[in-house]
Structure formats: structure tokens, C-alpha cells
Amino acid sequence: QTKWDLPAAYPATNFHTVNLTQFAADVDKATSGKLKITVHAGASLFKAPEIKRAVQGGQAQIGEILLPAYQNEWQMFGADGIPFLATSYAESKKLYAAQKPILEKKLAEQGMMLLYAVAWPPQGLYSKKPINSAADLKGNKWRAYSPATSRIAELVGAQPVTVQAAELSQALATGVVESNMTSGATGVDSKLYEHLKYYYDVQAWLPKNAVLVNKKAFDALDKPTQDAVLKAGAEAEARGWAASEKVNTDTLATLKANGMEVLPPSPQLKADLQKVGETMLKEWLDKAGADGQAMLGAYRK
């Protein structure tokens, strides 16, 4: 019997984690208990930024990471965090297909393999005040939690504010933060409706969680077990994308039910953000080089 540890950063009830737990159970069943995968949810084994290197270094055989979080390391990881490039589930799947070969190559160089990836629901704009155009965001205290969200703030003239997720709720209550860009799902998880009134469904990007496997650990399995892992992974991927769409619909309804105004962006806001997206795509391409061009070419084909 082989035992694998699977560190994951999100709480046990998050749809990604629920999917992982199901995946582990499927593997257990398909291999008749020969491979036991323990899911360590809620960052209980390793914290989010440590998970990738834990898999890379063999401290965990398998782990789940948020891809765009690793953009600092390699620009291609940030491809699904480029705002307004892929803004629907269909586009996001297309982007994933274009990214996949490049990602797989890089991960193979790092001694890992990509088992599957599932998108988060699209990112929307949460705000205390109504926002009808980018001009309304000028001077607005905007939570900058990643390089991309910082850059958006700079481009629209908002004031980027550094506040950790743990302190967000308090920061919103005291006015340290006035706007935030994240998904409906995260908004429900962190109860953003307690302090913010408006949600603009701008569908900025659909970041993906990827499940990575340490190649050495995978190679050490016998063939039937390897196949079982791959098969369960493929099923988890399909299940995860469907769950994500459902979570998107459900959580927007939850936001509404809790008194939030869930609105489509005004044409002006949409146009303004589109312009931000173009600038950021250009900047990203400059840094991502040939890989970036290749991916974009495949995506736009």
C-alpha cells in the first residue's frame, strides 16, 4: 500500500476541496486501497505559497495550487490571471487548452506533472459605492493582493491597499478597503456582502487551481495504479468545471439574497476595463516572450 499526502489551501467545504476529496475516494476505490491519498484541506499541512515547492521537493507527492499566484516565478503561470483575456467558461477552457502543452513542459522540467486544472468562477468587482466607469475608481481604496490586482489599480488610478485576506472583513468594516476584485464564490466565503453593497459581474478572469503530482512519486506506482490516478484525475477535471459553473450561479444568487446589488458593468466601465486589459496583455507578452506569443496564437486561432 502506498500513501500520498495532498496539501490544499482552501477549506474542506470549498468546491475545489470537495472535488479533491472525491478524487481521493475514487483512486482508493479504483486501486482497491493500494493508493491512499490523504487530503489536507485548509492549509493544514503546508500554507498556500509553500505547496508547489513541497510537491517539487517531494515533501508531498501531490498538491493543489492556484496557478496565477506563481506568476512571479514564471509569467506563463499567470496566463489565466490576465484580465479580460478569457472571460467566460468557454473562453477559459480554450485558454486552458492553449496553455496546457507549455505548462506541462515547464512542470516536467521541474520534476512534476499536471494532473488536472479547474477554473474558479469569474472575478467580479466588489465596491462600497456605485461604479459606472473607471473614473469612479479614482482614489478608491482598492485591495491589491497580487501583482495583477496592483497593476489594475494603477491603471485605473485607484489606490492599491495591502490587506491580508485574514483582515479583509475588518478592513472593509473600518473603510481601510473600499473595493476588491474576486469571484462570487470567494465573496460568499468571506461574507463580503456584510460590508459592500455593489457587485459588478465584469468577469475579469477565471484563475485556475491546478493539481500537480511529483513525477518520481508517480513513476514509483505500478501501471494499473498510474492509470487509475490519471482516470480519476480526468473525471475530477470534468466534475470540477461543472461544479465551478454551478457555484458561480449559486453564489451570485447568495450575494443577491444577502442584499447585494449584483449588476452587469455599464458599457463605459466595460470599455474602460477592456482598455486596461489590452495594456496588461501587452505588458504580459513583453515579459512572457515566445511562450506567451505561442499561447496567445493558439488561443486566438
Binding site: K3, D5, P11, A12, T13, T38, H40, A41, G42, A43, S44, L45, F46, K47, P49, E50, R53, A54, G57, G58, Q59, A60, V163, Q164, A166, E167, S169, Q170, A171, A173, T174, G175, V176, D189, K191, E194
Partner: protein
């Protein structure tokens, strides 16, 4: 049966290393290492380094060294002396007199700090020397501080509530509000205990100062102005949105420096002494935190807390019995692990059971926070015990003994919350 073997082996190793005088932080790391080498197939060293680095450089902890520094600065000012002068006339009639400053100070400081170690270190720096100088018995001075400073967790802001809130997906704001009444209730229980003890042992409480008229009392209260300004400034910076709860510690350091300068006690040598003193005290705590982080990781790999939690969950108990079982489970775990680790390692398993039993998750959050508070003062691994040992140089067994009554009062608080759940749920329901 394997579980029992693993557990006993690790506990034996823990007591052997601790008892033979190995430094506490290193002992925890050593036990974690033994656990990983014997009961998991993972390479221990690399995992240890990642985890210790992660915990030592984590932004969430930055308030701790800053609050420790604030305490070291204030310790070198006349602030505590003047605070006691201002308070003394008002508490003369109260049985226990100035002993209540530990409770009052911790309760107020808990509204600034989210950790009990920081509360213990900062308040202790001000009250321990002053109360000892005035002749209050050491056991009551240290015990009441150890007990009351755990309120740092229950009175918002609170790191542990954020951890629980994220795991249980309940509103952190509601948890914060839910902790207010139980926190005040615990403070009242602690004060009540001191009063009863003082009435039973009148000889052990130092004599009251001469009686004063109301006007005189009010005049003496002017000595409270600096401390009120300082604490008010720090709390104010959080609630006006100038600083987050973590950043408020920096406001505290600056405030303490200004106060120290205004009183004329700030000079090169006191500044350097406070800085080096704070660095050492923080370093002492950091080594233990590092060992504890590695022990948590090791426990995560071995799965011991998880299996115990699964066992309790699988018993199919009624809500009341389940809570008793969980309280015992967490008290036992709390002897060996720190609070945040307990929550992180077990919540995934415990929460579905608690939800299925129909227990309110906000109420359960407060229940868990109080149990974690108890863990801060139970030996052999209790962070408040360690901070107090660092400050008083007493044996940890003595400190654990003088803190024991407050452990009992927290058990009583759990019972009261069970009988009167509204103490927790009433305020959040009005939000």
C-alpha cells in the same frame, strides 16, 4: 492499537527531553523529528525547514514582536507606576485591590491584540514588577495574569477566530461580536475569584492606602491620562481605519516611544535596552513557535489528531455528550499542541459532526476559542506558561499550578455558555 503506541512513544519522548532540561523549542522540534522519522515516510529535514521558515516569516505574526517591544519600552517608563497610582484609590474598597489590574489591563489590551502571548508579555511587563514591589503575593500576580491574558483570544480582534472562521465558513465579524460578552463574563469570573480569595485571605493582600475624598481620587486619576491616551490611540487607530489590527502594534510602539520621550525617560541607553530586551524575549518565543510549527506539521503527516477527531466524531453522541467529549478531546490535545494547530488539524473532521448535531457554529467557535484559551495555560506545552517563565524565571510547574484556578473558571464558563447560549448568540443576531 498502533495509534496508542505512537502516542505513548511521542509523549515519552516529550517528557524525557523536557525533563532532562533540553530547551523547549528544540524539544518540540525533536519530538516532531522522531515522529516523522518513525511514523511517516517523508523526509523530515526539508519539510521542517520550509515550515519553520513559513511560520517565522509569516506576516500574521508581526504584531507579536512589536507588542513585545512596546511592553519593553513601557517597562522603562513611569507609565505603570503612574497607572497604579491613578487606579489605587478606586480599588481600595475592592477585595483584592490592585490585583484586578491584571484582569482589567488584559481585558482592555485584548481589544488591541489578537494573541494571548502578546497580551501576556505586554501587560506582564507593566504589572508584575509593580505588583511585586507593592507586596502582592507572587502566586496571585502571576496566576491572574496567566489566566486573564488568554482573553486576548476571546475579545476581538482575535487571530484564532479568524482561523476558525475561515475553516468553518462563518462570519468573522459575527464571531468577533460573539466573543465580547463571554470575554467580559470570563473577566468577571476572574475578578470574582480574586475577590473571594482576598476575602478568605485578608492577611495576604497589602494594606490599602489612606482613604481619600472623591475630589482627591479624581485628582489622583490624572495619572491615568497617559495610559488612557496610549491604549485609546491604539484602539482608535483600528476602529477609525487608520491601521489594521496587526498594524496597530506599530502604532503602539510609536505611542510608547512618544510617551517615554514626554516623560523624559527616553534616551540612548533605555532605547537600546528596550530594543535588545524585546529582541531576546521575542526570540525566546520565536524558537518555541518554530518547534511548535514543526510539531504541527509532523502531527499532520502522522494524522494523530485527525484520527482522534474521527474517533470522537464516529461515536454518534448526542449534542450534550458530544460537547463534553470534544471539550475533553481539546483539553487533552491542548496539553501538547498550540491552539491554532489544534484547530487547523481537526476542524475538517470535527465540523461536519458538529453541524450534524445541530450545534450553532458561532456558538461552537466561541466554545473552541475558550478551550484554546485553556490550552495556553496547561503544561507541558502552554504558550502563556512559557512567556511567564521567560519573564519571572519561575519553574513551569509552579506557573502551571498558580494558573490552575483560572483553568477551572474557564471550565465553569463553558458550562455557563451551555446553559445560556444567548451569551454568545444574542449580540451577533442583532447585527
Amino acid at each position: 492499537m498502533n495509534e496508542i503506541l505512537v502516542t505513548s512513544l511521542l509523549i515519552v519522548a516529550l517528557f524525557l527531553l523536557l525533563g532532562s532540561g533540553v530547551w523547549i523549542g528544540l524539544t518540540l522540534a525533536g519530538v516532531a523529528w522522531i515522529g516523522m522519522e518513525l511514523f511517516s515516510s517523508r523526509p523530515a529535514g526539508d519539510a521542517m525547514a520550509i515550515t519553520i521558515w513559513g511560520s517565522a516569516s509569516s506576516w500574521t505574526l508581526t504584531a507579536l514582536p512589536l507588542f513585545v517591544w512596546m511592553g519593553e519600552i513601557l517597562f522603562r517608563t513611569k507609565l505603570s507606576e503612574s497607572m497604579f497610582r491613578g487606579l489605587a484609590p478606586w480599588v481600595n474598597a475592592l477585595p483584592g485591590r490592585l490585583l484586578h489590574t491584571n484582569i482589567l489591563g488584559s481585558t482592555i489590551f485584548a481589544a488591541v491584540s489578537g494573541s494571548s502571548a502578546a497580551t501576556c508579555a505586554t501587560i506582564g511587563k507593566m504589572t508584575i514588577p509593580e505588583l511585586s514591589k507593592r507586596g502582592y503575593p507572587a502566586e496571585k500576580v502571576v496566576g491572574s495574569l496567566g489566566g486573564a491574558s488568554t482573553l486576548g483570544l476571546l475579545i476581538p480582534p482575535s487571530i484564532i477566530m479568524i482561523v476558525y472562521g475561515v475553516a468553518a465558513e462563518v462570519s468573522i465579524a459575527k464571531l468577533f461580536v460573539g466573543g465580547v460578552l463571554p470575554g467580559l463574563m470570563l473577566a468577571a469570573l476572574f475578578s470574582g475569584h480574586l475577590m473571594i480569595w482576598a476575602l478568605l485571605n485578608p492577611a495576604k493582600v497589602p494594606k490599602a492606602d489612606a482613604d481619600m475624598s472623591l475630589a482627591q481620587k479624581l485628582a489622583e486619576s490624572r495619572h491615568l491620562i497617559p495610559v488612557v491616551l496610549l491604549i485609546g490611540g491604539v484602539i482608535g487607530s483600528i476602529y477609525t481605519g487608520i491601521a489594521t489590527a496587526t498594524e496597530a502594534a506599530a502604532i503602539g510602539v510609536v505611542g510608547a516611544l512618544i510617551l517615554s520621550a514626554a516623560q523624559g525617560s527616553l534616551n540612548r541607553s533605555t532605547f537600546v535596552a528596550s530594543l535588545l530586551g524585546a529582541t531576546r524575549l521575542y526570540c525566546m518565543i520565536a524558537l518555541i513557535l518554530a518547534g511548535a510549527a514543526f510539531l504541527t506539521l509532523s502531527m499532520g503527516y502522522i494524522g494523530l489528531p485527525r484520527h482522534l477527531a474521527e474517533f470522537v466524531s464516529g461515536l454518534g453522541l448526542s449534542p450534550g455528550v458530544l460537547l463534553v467529549a470534544l471539550a475533553l478531546f481539546y483539553i487533552l490535545l491542548g496539553c501538547f499542541l498550540d491552539g491554532i494547530s489544534m484547530i487547523v488539524l481537526t476542524m475538517g473532521v470535527i465540523l461536519p459532526t458538529v453541524t450534524a448535531a445541530g450545534i450553532d457554529l458561532i456558538w461552537f467557535g466561541i466554545f473552541v476559542v475558550i478551550v484554546v484559551e485553556m490550552a495556553q495555560i496547561t503544561p507541558p506545552v502552554g504558550f502563556n506558561l512559557f512567556v511567564l517563565q521567560g519573564m519571572t524565571r519561575r519553574e513551569i510547574t509552579w506557573i502551571a499550578r498558580v494558573c490552575a484556578p483560572y483553568f477551572g473558571l474557564m471550565v465553569l464558563a463553558l458550562l455557563l455558555l451551555w446553559w445560556f447560549p444567548g451569551l454568545v448568540t444574542w449580540l451577533p443576531s442583532r447585527m
